[in-house]
């Protein structure tokens, strides 16, 4: 892999690599996510964080998954190391752009159509999108005091610049999905949407998720206890999604 490229910022012919970290995602949304990603990215790079189901096998069945690393032991409690491993694996494909995707995230149709226009330019080095937390199913997203991530932008698409200094804060949890250093580079806040289906599950699974959060972070060190509690809200404020 050459660490030198010219031009550094290409206006055409950019190679887009999706990067994902996964754990026990078989039977959930992973297959659908990989199918959709295969439509608009050039490569998919995956770190399997010690899955005990057939997640790795599922990933391998997609031709665009060009790199897959399976960790013997989960790094869930050392998240920055996990992020670093995924980053190193992703840049080893010598990408022009990287798209950080979770195993339950879907780019809306317009976003997928616009993806090439977003990356084939030399003005900005990252793009952020509006992420929507779908709730209880795939028709509505949640919007209230604790669930409003879509009111801000989340950086998920970045240009890879060789010889730039990339680093993650060395934290065990809540590590940003992409290196913090991107914040000094110019970016574009796109009014394009990403559907997050992590909470698009039935009530019994929401209760399980709540229990898991409380077990991991009973004092609310990494997140807000009020938000954890709000997972159990009987009548959350939901808004219908419109394409």
């Amino acid at each position: 892999m050459s660490s030198h490229r010219w031009p550094l910022r290409k206006t055409a012919g950019n190679r887009l690599t999706a990067m994902m970290q996964v754990r026990n995602e078989a039977g959930r949304y992973l297959e659908q996510v990989l199918e959709e990603l295969s439509e608009f990215v050039d490569d998919i790079v995956v770190v399997d964080d010690g899955s005990t189901d057939h997640t790795a096998q599922l990933c391998r069945s997609f031709a665009k998954v060009t790199k897959l690393v399976t960790l013997e032991t989960s790094l869930f409690n050392r998240e920055w190391e996990l992020r670093q491993i995924l980053w190193d694996l992703a840049v080893s494909t010598n990408p022009d752009w990287l798209l950080s995707v979770d195993a339950d995230e879907f780019y809306e149709e317009t976003a997928k159509r616009e993806m090439r226009r977003l990356i084939d330019q030399d003005v900005y080095d990252w793009v952020s999108f509006r992420l929507f937390d779908f709730w209880g199913g795939t028709t509505h997203y949640r919007e209230d005091e604790h669930w409003n991530i879509h009111t801000k932008h989340t950086r998920t698409l970045v240009r890879y610049l060789p010889n730039f200094h990339y680093f993650f804060p060395k934290m065990d949890h809540h590590v940003p999905r992409l290196p913090l250093s991107y914040s000094v580079l110019p970016g574009f806040l796109a009014e394009l949407r990403v559907k997050h289906y992590g909470w698009a599950v039935p009530p019994e699974e929401l209760r399980l998720k709540y229990s898991r959060y409380m077990e991991l972070d009973p004092e609310g060190r990494w997140g807000s206890l009020e938000q954890y509690q709000s997972i159990l809200d009987a009548q959350p404020h939901l808004i219908e999604w419109k394409e």
Binding site: L8, N163, F164, H165
Partner: protein, 400 residues
């Protein structure tokens, strides 16, 4: 050696009295301005009226000048050596005028010394032979007798004496190693501060700066740490400051292709993109010295750029050298090279030089020529008036 002091005000306000006491081979010291006879006796200094300084045999004198508004006198006196004591702009002066003429004074001086670390670093990136009149070392670095009085010296006082002596010595025989000694002291100080203040980005940046001036590739590590801290504390306006610096470090001690790419990361405007293209072109045609010199200039290290370009003979190198001379206020050298290369000169620069040499009419003519037809002469003539006013105020302060 005899010394002539051109100060920024009265003897009472003069802030370098101890440095005068420590001057090596002190055969005589004249102070331009008013002093009481008691002050003259106690300090073994002779006062001379500003108007009388021309009666001194300047071939025997080193001038110590601490106001840029003495520049016309400094140029016409043609002393054996000139030491510029550069200061931050006083409140009552116009900053742009003070900084410009301080730059011109610094460029004409044989030695620059300053109590401001900021000026010290700026000057170290512009020229050779810069001394910081400050330090953080508590212990004494030596002692000296001046007459029958014993002085214990700080680190920078020892270096002050070395730097002055060094002026008289053939620099090819006696390299100015006091510069390196001081840079090493400053680097050691900031490295120790990084251990004490591990979350301070500025301290790491300064450690990197001194290591860079010493040519030490470890500068990269401190700059990296500084960058991470800047980002963590959300001081996000640091792309240019840090990545042009990374590219200069790489240009000095590492891989040129990486250095060019690091510069390119910071290139967004049309001009910056042109610079990046040009660097790339030189890199591919094997003109590595041009690449290195330009990377240094882009990181505001014109001193390093001039060191490289002065030995090159191509017209491309000479054009770059002119730019570096202009930016470092070495304007006479720039004009000379411009005349040789292009057959014409920059009128504003030419006018300023006429002005400093007391050729007022020639200065006005140059400014008018440079300004063209669209009333651009006014700011230049206004600057002339501002300078003349500043000089008058200086003379009033000096004469008390």
């Amino acid at each position: 050696m005899k010394y002539l002091i051109l100060s920024g005000g009265s003897w009472e306000d003069y802030e370098y009295k101890r440095l005068l006491e420590l001057l090596p081979n002190r055969e005589g010291v004249c102070f331009a301005g008013r002093m009481t006879s008691e002050q003259q006796t106690n300090n073994q200094i002779r006062a001379v009226a500003a108007a009388d300084i021309y009666s001194l045999n300047m071939k025997q004198y080193t001038i110590l000048v601490s106001s840029p508004y003495w520049l016309t006198e400094v140029l016409s006196l043609q002393a054996a050596y000139v030491v510029a004591l550069l200061e931050r702009c006083p409140e009552e002066e116009k900053k742009w005028l003070w900084d410009k003429y301080s730059g011109l004074l610094g460029a004409k001086a044989d030695l620059v010394a300053t109590r401001s670390e900021r000026i010290y670093l700026e000057q170290s990136l512009r020229r050779e032979g810069v001394l910081y009149l400050g330090g953080d070392q508590q212990e004494s670095y030596g002692a000296t007798f001046q007459g029958d009085r014993l002085y214990f010296l700080t680190d920078y006082e020892v270096l002050w004496r070395k730097a002055i002596v060094n002026l008289w010595q053939d620099s090819t025989i006696s390299p100015a190693n006091w510069v390196t000694i001081q840079l090493e002291l400053r680097a050691d100080y900031y490295i120790s501060m990084c251990a004490k203040l591990p979350s301070q980005p500025v301290v790491h940046y300064l450690a990197a700066s001194y290591l860079y001036l010493l040519g030490d590739p470890v500068a990269n590590r401190y700059l990296t740490q500084s960058f991470e801290l800047m980002v963590l504390y959300e001081y996000l306006d640091c792309l240019h400051s840090h990545f042009r610096f990374f590219s200069a470090i790489e240009g000095k001690t590492g891989d040129l292709e990486t250095a060019v790419q690091q510069y390119t990361i910071t290139a967004f405007t049309a001009e910056e993109k042109r610079d990046a293209e040009r660097l790339r072109g030189w890199l591919h045609s094997g003109q590595y010295e041009l690449v290195r010199a330009e990377l240094f200039r882009l990181n505001e290290d014109e001193a390093a750029a001039v060191r490289i370009l002065s030995s090159l003979t191509t017209s491309e190198a000479k054009l770059l050298l002119i730019q570096n001379y202009i930016r470092t206020f070495q304007w006479e050298k720039a004009l000379e090279l411009q005349q040789d290369l292009e057959g014409s000169v920059d009128g504003v620069i030419e006018g300023t030089i006429h002005l400093l040499h007391g050729r007022r009419h020639e200065a006005i003519r140059s400014f008018l020529n440079a300004a063209g037809q669209d009333n651009q002469a006014w700011p230049l003539l206004s600057e002339m008036a501002d300078l003349e006013e500043a000089v008058k105020r200086l003379k009033r302060r000096v004469e008390g």
